[in-house]
Amino acid sequence: MKHTVTCLVKNQPGALADLTRAFFEKGINIYSLAVSEREESEVSRMTIVVEAEAGQLDEIAKVAGEVEAVTAIQDLSADELTARELLLLKVRATPENIPKIMQTAEMFRAEVIAVNKTTLTLAHVSIAQRIDGIIRALRPLGIVQLARSGLIAVTNREAPPADSSKE
């Protein structure tokens, strides 16, 4: 089962390496990882999606907490977060494929952001299931290149996120 964990991490060299090494040493597989700015520039937010059993969650929090650069950890269940992922997908645009690609893009509300002689590049921001869906729909038409940003998330709580300090 996938779990989304956000960590607040000091902006310092080696922070990412330390965290991923800690996960690796415990055999926890990272499904996606996105690092982005936060409200304060000295701290970044890492949104990590891991494949883990429910019983492993405490262990994940513990592993992350042991990393010196991590200042706070939050495990977010699905109902607590608003999460999106960005997909960039370049698909082969043969004449006969063009209507299908455009209809698929329309169905998923993806946007064509670039066009060249043989391909169309689509951008789609959505939840992971819909990202998976558009990839499945377009794969038979010939995906030339694909990039996913990994999930980024904010909490749904009205108050500022109560990121549990690791202390």
Partner: protein
Amino acid sequence: MDSAGTTPIFSSLEDILKYEKAAPPMRMAVAAPHDAMTLRAVAMAVQQRVALPILIGSRGLIEQQAETAGLDLSACIIEDVDQERHITTAVQMLHDQRADFMMKGLVQTSKLLRTVLDKQWGLSSNRLLSHVTVFEHPKEHRLILMTDAGVNVNPNVARKIEILENAVEVAIALGIAKPRVAILAAVENVQLPAMPATLHGELIKRYAEGGLLKQPCYVDGPLALDNAVSPAKAAAKGISGPVAGQADVLVVPNIESGNIFYKALTSLHGDEMAGVVVGARCPLVVPSRADSPMTKLFCIALASFLSRVNHGN
């Protein structure tokens, strides 16, 4: 009008009208002709022997409106039916081949089109319904078609291809053997995301280059209107190709641009037009209330001609 073998080649709306006046009149089912404007167009069609109208609606209302407007409808057949059956009776007549094409009176266009698309009447041909406007080039003695200013609000690429194919079929029927189709936008290069019509133009051109269109035609896009219809302006901008400056069919980005195009010609330039909805088994005349009586007559003549082509006579 010229002719190539048995196929007439029309270069003006008057040509279409003349052709229909000389031919045996086709039967026109008119749904709910309860207003003077529709009846005036019907009376003109009768007077000019362009169509044989079958008026479907309330006999009392039709006769009252005709009397008030001073119209002689004695040559028309009136089918007196309840309000709920105005459209379905007209559609049933087309289905039973007791009428050749249909004209809309005081009924909602959306309701009429929904009924036409209802498979139980056998009028749907599994094609997209779209509106085609025919008008005269103001400087060259030829017709230009514009689509779709009346049915499809914001068509995607797949629908625009169908709209194009519907219009090309009409253009060929009007004697343009290999129509030159311009997919209109504001500029000639793809600009994303600001101008989605430019992307549509580029993609539809590629689709056509793949030989996937059903009818023979040249397609280019995106093209701005001036470069599509004016050889001098296309040349000035260095735009060449079989379509530039000599487009026969203009595919507009959406219903808003089509509507503005249509009304700029009729309201500012005083042009007459002819418009029909195509894509069903017979053409549909869906005039705007604001259309001039002459435009309504041209619409009837065009629909009559297209239904004649459908019937192969």
